[in-house]
Structure formats: structure tokens, C-alpha cells
């Protein structure tokens, strides 16, 4: 999913190290032990203080029921439709309101738990049969939709939810990547297709054409799997774009405040760019959870304030009561919190990174040596500093993020040993050599093109954009920088391949689930390019690499799979498919009187269903 612009939304190696320690995989990142926080190979380590490492959080079992939370986010939601949402900010409102089939509990980003389903499908419990070609999921009985639909959720609602993933009006960005191996998925257009069938009211069956059961099961925690009532959403889905999102129905403990008769959310529970209000879902019942995952839903209401300066929000959160910041704190706030309010900041080790998109389908960056020159020239340490220093970032040296299979195999913190990748401070000599190899004997770009650069305008994004621009200018490129709101950046420019924006320095990625596929496929596979909501920011389409990714998804042995994905990762660095920036650790801040529980799998964003007011 796409990352917050600011803040190293990418989980850095450090957090990854802690995570790896938890799930037992060995890697060089394990040397960054539980006591040390950020640390680059050359930079200073800044230790976490007690309670700051979100990887060791508890799930707040004894929270006080009741109360109202005010949640500040300087970034707006991109989509409220669970079929379209693909952004960490959207997820903070979606997961408390929509019950996906599976879910990661807040304190784990590796072990799935059942949510709407009764169990995670395995071979042992009969969930996986036919040698991995059939996946069967049973639904919790008695789960009801919120007003105005009010009835019990059935298997048909889950089937419809997944069907609409192929509907162009919905604009889902990962249907083909994660559900593409279901029977008939390749040609599905929003109607029923043979890959998803139901049996009775409470059984959903998935039929795969290839045994990629692990991929599919991981995808069952994506928002697309949250049930959608066809009688309510069908007419809305006929419009282009779909109006489901303006009108919504919930299945989670909370819902967007809406018109009780029509279910309209926009203008009532969501003022675009201004605010959102989440209230309790009257039809939600805590007894419909039978596994370890049982959201306590302490809060009565969540008021989301959208917009504003990150630095101002940070002050309000650190000094206020009853407030949290939902998106990335500004770099100066991170420092202030770490030094003066250490009990109010927590760092989430995670699986995210930031890198800039470089349009590979138009000049000049269709030339691989020019891309390599940019890779060599960028000062990644400066970008780390702009995000907040070693505490929150480490230089990006390849694309599989710390904490995911294949990170170590791909070179770990140092990454693959290509000449343009070795110096994280930027190496102009190497860049000049590559410019010459690209056909510019003077070592500087002499063409006529002015590069279009579109970056975010809030938080740390402008500073990072300046660093990238500085590298481009030193190579002789003329640049035209536009700083826009992040939703505009993704929605209108960087997420629309036709715009051919040359450089998008503020983009980033968080893995969708615990599988290297989810870091490399959607951002770098040609088949994942979609006309809107595109997340392959470089429009990268290499048939050889596409084929290798398809082959890697079929590998059952985790070690072999890790190696296969690492090989792909190395090739992506070889082809310099983006502007390298950093691996992130996400800081999350809250007021002193908030017992915060963050979702580790979603950059530690505060989980409204677990957080309480003290």
C-alpha cells in the first residue's frame, strides 16, 4: 500500500531487526538488538527509551471504556471504499469499520488471525485442499451490517466484495496481483467469476488455477475482502467512479457517521479535506469474535481532524489531552518528543520504505544508465536526516524491506554491490561515469527536456524533494518542481501513468502482508500498472522480471522463495528502477492521557479499536 509522504513511513532495518528477532529468521539486522534503535552503517545509534519500541507493545487489555478521541492527520483520506483503499492513512479508518476475512493483530505483522472468518485456512483444518488449489473459509455467524442495511452478513456479500475488485469503476490496485490466480480472474470485469463461489450462507470457496495458496491467504486480510451488500452497493458501483465510499455500510466496531436512511457518509461523517467522525456501530457485537483477535472497542467516538501543519499538530498532541496524530509527525516534533516527551512517542519497526518514481516509459529515464546515474548521485544520508535521522530512517539500498523474507539474501543493510549503490552519501564520480555511459561525454545532461517533478507539500516531503532535485541539477538536468497536496500527488499525477511525471520523489511503499511479493509485485511488475490509482510509480515493465515474479509466487519452500525474490530485488537495483531514499521506522505520537495501541503491520498507526483514554 502507499505510504505516508512524511516520515520515514518505511520501517527501518532496526525495527525490522526486532521483528526478525521475534519471528526467528536470522539476518544481519539482528545485530541491531532490542536496545538500539536507528543506526546506519556509519551514523550514530540513538537508543530507544523504555516503552518507545512498539514491537513490544501490549494490547491494552484493561483499558477504560468510553471517551472520545481526537485524531489529527495533516493528510486526507484517499478512498473510503474498502474495494479501492490502498493507503496506510485510509486503513486507519477502514479496519475499525470494515471486517476483512483475516487480519493482523496490532502487535504482529507476521501472524494472521481470523476476523470475519472463523479460522485462518490451513491444510490441517481443511481450509486448504486439492494441493493448494482450493481455499475454504467459513464466516462467523451473526455478524450484521450497520444501518441502513441492518441484516446478517452472508457469504454472498464476501463474494460480491471480491467480484467488485475487478470492476473498473472501483479502481482496485491489487486485484490482479493478489487475486489474479483465481479461476476467471484475468477476464473478470466486476461480475461473478468462477474463482469465488459460496456454499450456503457462511462458506466462501476460492478456486485457484495455480497453487499460490500462500499468496491468496495473505491477501485475505486486504480491505477488498470486507463484505459489501450487493443490494446497497450494486447501483452505486454502476457509476464511474463508483459511489460506494460516498455511501457506506460498516461491519466493524465503528462506522462513519452517516444518514440512517441512505447510508450517506460524505457531508455527514466525512467532510472532504476537513474532518471525519467515527461512531459506534450499533449492530456490532463483541461475541462474534472467537479467536485471539478480539478488539475491545473502548472509545465511544473518534473525531478526525484533517489538514494543518504537521509541526503544529505535533505540538497539540504532545501538550494536549485526548489526542493522537494519525499520520507522520514532522521531523522537529520527533526530536522534541524523543527528548522531552519520551513516554508519548513510539517507534514502529515495519515494512515500509520511501523511494522516488522515475518514469521509465518516457525520455530521459527510459535510459537505464541515466537512472543509474541518478541512483549514484542522490545523497541518501541527507534524506535520512531530512526524515529525522537515524532514529527513524536508514538509507535504502534495495527494495525488499527489513523484516521481510529476502532482505538478507538481497544484501541486507548494504544491499547489492553495484557501483552506483555502494556509496549512500552519493558518489558524483560514479554518477559522471554513468552519464558518460548513457551517451553524455561531458558527464552532464545536455538534452532539452525539463524534468517534471511532483512532490508532496507538507511535512518532510519538500525537504526530500529538494535533495533529489539537487542531485538531478548536479547532473545537468533542468527541473520543474511542483509541490501539491499528497492526495493530489497520488490521485492526479504520480498515480496516473498517462501523466508521465518524470520524478515523483515523495512516493513510498509498505508491504501489504508478510510476503516479499507484496513489496515487489505491485510497485514493479508491468501487469500491475493501472490507469488510475497506479502504484507502479516508475511504470516499470520488464517482461523477464515479470516472468520471474510469476515463477517466484509458485515456490512453496520459504528459503527458496526468499532467494528467488532476492534475485529479483537485485535486478531491480541493477535496472535502477527508482530514486533510492530510505527504509523507515515510523514514529507515532499521542497525548499523555492516551493508552495507545498501534498497528505494527500498518506503520504503527493508532488502532481505534484497541486504543483507550486513560
Amino acid at each position: 500500500m502507499t505510504h505516508h509522504l512524511r516520515v520515514a513511513s518505511v520501517l527501518t532495518a532496526v525495527s525490522a531487526a526486532l521483528l526478525l528477532a521475534a519471528c526467528g529468521s536470522s539476518s544481519s539486522s539482528k545485530t541491531a538488538s532490542t536496545s538500539a534503535a536507528g543506526g546506519t552503517s556509519s551514523g550514530p545509534t540513538v537508543p530507544y527509551k523504555t516503552g518507545e519500541n512498539m514491537a513490544t507493545e501490549t494490547l491494552n487489555p484493561n483499558g477504560t471504556k468510553g471517551g472520545m478521541l481526537t485524531s489529527y492527520s495533516s493528510e486526507d483520506y484517499l478512498h473510503l471504499d474498502p474495494g479501492a483503499a490502498y493507503f496506510s492513512g485510509d486503513y486507519t479508518a477502514l479496519y475499525p469499520t470494515q471486517r476483512t476475512l483475516l487480519i493482523y493483530p496490532p502487535n504482529s505483522s507476521t501472524t494472521l488471525a481470523p476476523n470475519l472468518a472463523t479460522a485462518v485456512p490451513t491444510t490441517a483444518n481443511g481450509g486448504i485442499t486439492d494441493n493448494g488449489l482450493t481455499i475454504t473459509v467459513h464466516l462467523q455467524p451473526g455478524v450484521k451490517f450497520s444501518p441502513p442495511v441492518n441484516r446478517v452478513v452472508t457469504a454472498k456479500d464476501v463474494e460480491y466484495a471480491i467480484d467488485r475488485g475487478a470492476n473498473p469503476n472501483v479502481g482496485n490496485g491489487y486485484f490482479q496481483a493478489y487475486f489474479g490466480n483465481l479461476k476467471g480472474a484475468a477476464s473478470a470485469k466486476g461480475g461473478p467469476f468462477p474463482g469465488v463461489t459460496t456454499q450456503g450462507n457462511d462458506t466462501v470457496i476460492f478456486h485457484l488455477i495455480k497453487p499460490t495458496d500462500a499468496t491468496l491467504i495473505g491477501a485475505l486480510q486486504m480491505p477488498l475482502t470486507a463484505p459489501v451488500p450487493e443490494e446497497f452497493a450494486g447501483p452505486l458501483d454502476k457509476k464511474s467512479p463508483s459511489q460506494y465510499g460516498t455511501y457506506l455500510v460498516a461491519t466493524g466496531p465503528y462506522m462513519f457517521k452517516s444518514d440512517p436512511k441512505t447510508g450517506k457518509v460524505t457531508g455527514i461523517g466525512y467532510q472532504t479535506g476537513k474532518s471525519a467522525t467515527l461512531v459506534r456501530n450499533p449492530n456490532w457485537s463483541a461475541s462474534t469474535y472467537t479467536s485471539a483477535y478480539k478488539p475491545p472497542a473502548y472509545l465511544n467516538q473518534i473525531n478526525v481532524n484533517i489538514g494543518g501543519e504537521a509541526a503544529v499538530i505535533g505540538q497539540q498532541v504532545l501538550k494536549g489531552t485526548g489526542v493522537v496524530q494519525e499520520d507522520t509527525p514532522a521531523q522537529s516534533i520527533v526530536k522534541q518528543a524523543y527528548e522531552q516527551y519520551p513516554t508519548q512517542i513510539e517507534f514502529a519497526p515495519g515494512a515500509g520504505d520511501h523511494y522516488g518514481g522515475l518514469d521509465t516509459t518516457s525520455p530521459p529515464f527510459n535510459n537505464v544508465n541515466l537512472r543509474r546515474a541518478v541512483w549514484a548521485a542522490v545523497d541518501r544520508e541527507a534524506i535520512v536526516k531530512a526524515r529525522g535521522g537515524a532514529l527513524v530512517a536508514q538509507p535504502l539500498t534495495h527494495f525488499i524491506t527489513p523484516g521481510t523474507d529476502g532482505y538478507k539474501e538481497s544484501g541486507g543493510a548494504a544491499g547489492p554491490n553495484y557501483p552506483w549503490n555502494t556509496d549512500v552519501n552519493g558518489n558524483m564520480a560514479e554518477a559522471t561515469t554513468l552519464m558518460k555511459a548513457a551517451g553524455y561525454p561531458g558527464g552532464k545532461y545536455t538534452g532539452n527536456a525539463t524534468l517534471q517533478v511532483v512532490a508532496g507539500n507538507n511535512g518532510n516531503a519538500p525537504a526530500v524533494a529538494q535533495i533529489v532535485i539537487s542531485a538531478l541539477n548536479s547532473l545537468g538536468f533542468k527541473t520543474h518542481l511542483s509541490e501539491v497536496d499528497q492526495s493530489v500527488m497520488y490521485g492526479k499525477y504520480c498515480g496516473v501513468p498517462k501523466q508521465h511525471i518524470n520524478v515523483c520523489p515523495s512516493s513510498g511503499w509498505i508491504r501489504d502482508y508478510d510476503n516479499p511479493l507484496t513489496i515487489l509485485y505491485v510497485p514493479f511488475n508491468g501487469k500491475a500498472i493501472v490507469p488510475t490509482n497506479n502504484s507502479n510509480f516508475s511504470n516499470f515493465n520488464d517482461p523477464t522480471i515479470n516472468k520471474e515474479m510469476d515463477a517466484a509466487t509458485l515456490i512453496q519452500d520459504p528459503a527458496q522463495g526468499a532467494q528467488a525474490w532476492a534475485n529479483i530485488d537485485k535486478q531491480l537495483v541493477d535496472k535502477a528502477v527508482g530514486v533510492p531514499e530510505e527504509f523507515d521506522t515510523q514514529p507515532n505520537i499521542r497525548a499523555a492521557n492516551i493508552q495507545g495501541v498501534g498497528d505494527l503491520w500498518n506503520v504503527g498507526s493508532w488502532d481505534y479499536a484497541y486504543t483507550s483514554v486513560k
Partner: protein
């Protein structure tokens, strides 16, 4: 405000003083000499004028000045000047005004920022003055439908919310620009658009003043005399009326410059002005806002430069106004 007719340049005192006349010690002075004499007596205005001249010289010779002071260039990013959290460090021997969030030297950027402010302030005012004078001349001299049409147009532009217009242009034309002619986009956030916005917002001020002046001038005897001699309208406009407008125009234009410098700073602050990384005081103040509590130098120095520049122009303008109109009734 009306400034009175140019005849006020005649100093009453030179007529009413009763002093023994000795050849050589009282010379008849031209209005211009009287004007400068009065201006020079105003110490504050003279000092401000000197400051402005120094500022202009520094702006023109910015690369040399930066080199002489031993500072880094304005766009040189230096992450080593940031601390472990990426926060900027304050004033030091190497960086007398501290650094900004990218490690760039603030003193260097303040010096280069003078260019943006002065160019936009002076050129924008010049363009606004030209346009306003033309419209005021035509409206005041020809009256009738011409006056009505021009005056209503000026009223419409006076009602324009300029900052909102700037924001709108910024939002709409940010990435691809608007209104292309032959491949080049005319409107894009940047220096040309800023000058355009300044022109729209200030020409109205000049137009109204000029119109008022022309309305009174056209009734004067020398204009009647010229007309009776058969002078054409354009000759009267350019030879009789316009020269008498020059002095007030200089004064009001000089009072307009600081307003426009502030407008440029405001537009840059809002993100629709000079494009980064080009240094601009407004942009620097905008960037400094989130970190003011921890990095005061980043806002204080460009803010002080802006304050002093605007103040200097205002004082010079007031000095010119006083020199033009010694009776003091405005």
C-alpha cells in the same frame, strides 16, 4: 489621497523671507533642487535611501558578496550542519545566521533573497505604474464613456481578492501551467506570475490617483492655453499633463514598492511565488514556520531583512512625499 498640484514645489518661504539681498548668496533654485534639498534635510529618509542603495548593490553583486564573506552558496545543501535528528544548527562561526533544514547557509540565502524581493518589488511596481498611469490618464482626460468604462474596470480589479487569486493560480497551474501560447505556458507559479499578480493588485491604486490628478490638471490654465493654441490631445497629454504627474508618480510608486515586496513574500509564503530552491524571504519564512520553536534563526534573519527593506522603502517614500509637499496638508 490627493497630493496637490505640482505648483506646490514652489517653496513659499523663498518669497516671504525678508532678508537683505546680497548678490551671490541667494540663488533662485529650480523646483527639482528645492525638492532634493528638502529631501536631504530629512536624515531618516536619507539614511533609508542609502540602505536601499546598499541593498541593491548587494543584490546585484550577491555572488561576490557571498564569496567575500566566506559563505557557502545559497543552494549548497550540507547535511553535516544538521544534528543527529536532522535538525538545523544555529549561528556559528562558519554560518553566521545558522543553517536551514537542508543545511543551507541562511546568511547566503538572505543575501540572494534580496534579489527576488527587489526584482519583484521594483519591476512589479514599475509595470503596475505604467499600466495605472495609462488608464488614469485616459480616464481623467477624456472623461465620458472612456472614464466610465475604465473606472468600472478599475473597480472590478479593486474588488479582486488578490491572495485568493494567487492561491487559485497556484493550485490550478502548478504542474502543467495554464494558457499556453506556441508551446510555452504563460501562467505558472513563479516570478512572472508573481509580477502579474502584483500588477493586477496595484495598478488600480495608481490609476485612481492619476485620474484624480488629471481631472484637476486638465482644468488648469496652461492646458487651456495649449488647447487654444491648437495642440492635439496627445500632445497635451504627453507634453503638458504627464510631466506634471511625474513627481507624485515617483512618490506613490516608491510607497507601492514595499507593499509589493510584502505581497511577494506573502505569495511565496503561501507557496505560489518564487519556486524553490531559489531563495526568497517569504519562502524562507514559510519553511521556518514549523520549526520556529527550535530553530529561531531561520525565521528571524529573513524576517528582519524583509522588515528593514520594507521599512526603508516606506521611509524613503514618506521622505519624498514630504519633500514634494512641504505644507504638510495631504
Amino acid at each position: 489621497m490627493s497630493a496637490g498640484a505640482p505648483e506646490l514645489l514652489l517653496e513659499p518661504e523663498s518669497v516671504s523671507e525678508s532678508v537683505e539681498i546680497v548678490p551671490g548668496d541667494i540663488l533662485a533654485r529650480s523646483p527639482r533642487q528645492l525638492f532634493w534639498r528638502r529631501f536631504r534635510r530629512d536624515r531618516v529618509a536619507t539614511a533609508s535611501a542609502a540602505f536601499i542603495i546598499v541593498l541593491i548593490v548587494v543584490a546585484i553583486l550577491a555572488p561576490l558578496v557571498v564569496k567575500l564573506l566566506g559563505l557557502q552558496g545559497p543552494n549548497v545543501q550540507n547535511p553535516n550542519a544538521l544534528d543527529a535528528f536532522g535538525s538545523p544548527t544555529g549561528p556559528s562561526a562558519a554560518h553566521p545566521f545558522g543553517v536551514d533544514q537542508l543545511g543551507r547557509d541562511v546568511a547566503s540565502r538572505v543575501i540572494y533573497g534580496a534579489r527576488a524581493s527587489l526584482i519583484v518589488g521594483i519591476v512589479g511596481t514599475l509595470v503596475a505604474t505604467l499600466l495605472g498611469t495609462a488608464m488614469g490618464l485616459l480616464a481623467g482626460y477624456y472623461r465620458g464613456w472612456t472614464d466610465t468604462f475604465i473606472s468600472r474596470t478599475v473597480d472590478v480589479f479593486l474588488a479582486f481578492p488578490v491572495l485568493v487569486l494567487g492561491l487559485g493560480i497556484g493550485a490550478a497551474c502548478e504542474v502543467r501551467g495554464c494558457f499556453s501560447i506556441g508551446g510555452t505556458k504563460l501562467i505558472q507559479p513563479g516570478i512572472v506570475t508573481v509580477i502579474f499578480i502584483i500588477m493586477i493588485s496595484s495598478f488600480t491604486y495608481i490609476a485612481r490617483i492619476v485620474r484624480g490628478q488629471v481631472l484637476s490638471l486638465r482644468e488648469k490654465e496652461f492646458v487651456e492655453a495649449a488647447r487654444s493654441l491648437g495642440a492635439s490631445n496627445s500632445r497635451i497629454l504627453f507634453r503638458e499633463v504627464l510631466p506634471n504627474l511625474l513627481a507624485p508618480l515617483i512618490v506613490y510608486a516608491s510607497l507601492l514598492i514595499p507593499v509589493n515586496i510584502l505581497l511577494e513574500a506573502a505569495l511565496s509564503f503561501l507557496g505560489v511565488g518564487i519556486r524553490p530552491p531559489t531563495a526568497s524571504w517569504g519562502q524562507m519564512i514559510s519553511d521556518a514556520t514549523p520549526t520556529f520553536s527550535t530553530a529561531w534563526w531561520y525565521m528571524v534573519f529573513p524576517g528582519a531583512a524583509l522588515l528593514l527593506t520594507v521599512l526603508a522603502f516606506n521611509l524613503v517614500g514618506d521622505g519624498l512625499l514630504d519633500a514634494l509637499n512641504p505644507r504638510g496638508d495631504r
